[in-house]
Symmetry: C2
Subunit: 238 residues, 2 copies
């Protein structure tokens, strides 16, 4: 497998960075190709704007998705985006590595999503979910968070963690057609002992090595919806 | 009311910007104070980093939330953050205005959340949800999106829109203690006629004028959880 890790933590000594480093080591040792985008280290610009396009389909009015399509087709994407797109196209597995900020991705990673997951390449028209442009690839996330496991669940204070992550897991990774493998959660990271951290890193390494055999999460498929995207009658309804 | 609008759209001629302008006009005419942060216009930096702190509690290892607390207490926040914090403190109602990018906020707005909603001021320890640091304030969102209403709902292709927005509505606005008023959704915006847009703008103006009377969304409260944040037994269970 070619694994593409996109990492977003402002502290290079963080546990999240240690997980990223362990992933590079473990996956490489297992014979996989590994490419890393370290967004903070490269000072990635996360702001989707007109400056992302060297030639404009419509110079007077910016529709970001339409300009993405035009720039991708004509080879006029800003260089930093084009470089990330090439890494993404070469990947069999995309792994996002980040600390949970406000139950979602830090802005620098959200901006990588906004700018790199191009309309025209990763989705467009009826090309989304199982028909998305990145179908055939797999994706997952490895995240660090301060909360404890019991704070998530149907009756828990924050509800289901996977529901909080829906915009990323379903609305982004699955939207582009990637099979989403079950996430890895490193809980309570700022507060745990060195021994507990070592145990989490060991779990993480095992998780990484089991990824190829993991069953993807289940999400809606376009075949269950009609041309206008209304749900089709289910078989058990006649 | 003092209304603080945080707006994030890269195209000043967009319908989303027209909604923001209509909000300024309508709310001002109704006698409210209105302050706008236009993130693209001010080229807001959305990247949470060590550069946000003029003096470090720990110069060797960045724990972003701890440095936020230290910088807020000692008056050593970066100037762009400090200015936004003052606007936030003066607000009775925070209104986020943005186009839905990947079922969530554009990175430039996510970074405003990451950097401005300070630990120590807006949350910290057991100060979150109904005990959050911004309790007493209200908040809502007015968003534009390409999808149509029937694409959201329990059996719809994308599921519930409010569930996709949970990290923002519950995980951010309610997390800091603000009462979250029902959102305004402008659907299918890139594809509708000028007449339909005018109708949406009229609805939006009515929505703005009814905000003070709107009932907030219902979310978990800390009184329903024990000291360790496990759910308390419910009354009907004895």
């Amino acid at each position: 497998m070619n694994v593409f890790i996109v990492h977003a933590h402002p502290e290079p000594q963080s546990f999240c960075a240690a997980m990223k480093n362990a992933a590079v080591e473990t996956l490489s040792a297992a014979g996989h190709g590994v490419v890393v985008t370290d967004l903070y280290a490269m000072r990635f610009n996360p702001v989707a704007s007109a400056a992302d396009f060297l030639d404009r389909a419509d110079p007077d009015y910016l529709v970001y998705a339409l300009e993405q399509r035009h720039a991708y087709e004509t080879g006029t994407l800003a260089a930093d985006i084009a470089a990330e797109v090439e890494k993404l196209k070469a990947a069999d597995l995309l792994l996002l590595s980040f600390p949970l900020f406000w139950f979602s991705a830090p802005a620098i990673l959200k901006g990588w999503i906004d700018r790199v997951l191009l309309s025209g390449l990763t989705y467009g028209g009826k090309r989304f979910y199982d028909r998305g442009g990145l179908s055939g690839k797999k994706a997952s996330i490895g995240i660090t968070l301060g909360a404890r496991p019991h704070m998530f669940g149907p009756d828990a204070i924050h509800g289901e963690l996977e529901t909080m992550l829906r915009p990323i897991l379903r609305g982004t990774l699955w939207y582009t057609g990637m099979q989403v493998l079950p996430p890895f959660y490193a809980y309570h990271v700022p507060y745990i002992t060195a021994e507990a951290r070592a145990a989490v890193l060991a779990e993480w390494r095992n998780w990484l090595l089991s990824l190829q055999r993991a069953s993807p999460l289940s999400f809606p498929r376009l075949d269950d919806f009609d041309e206008r995207l209304y749900p089709k009658p289910r078989a058990d309804q006649g």
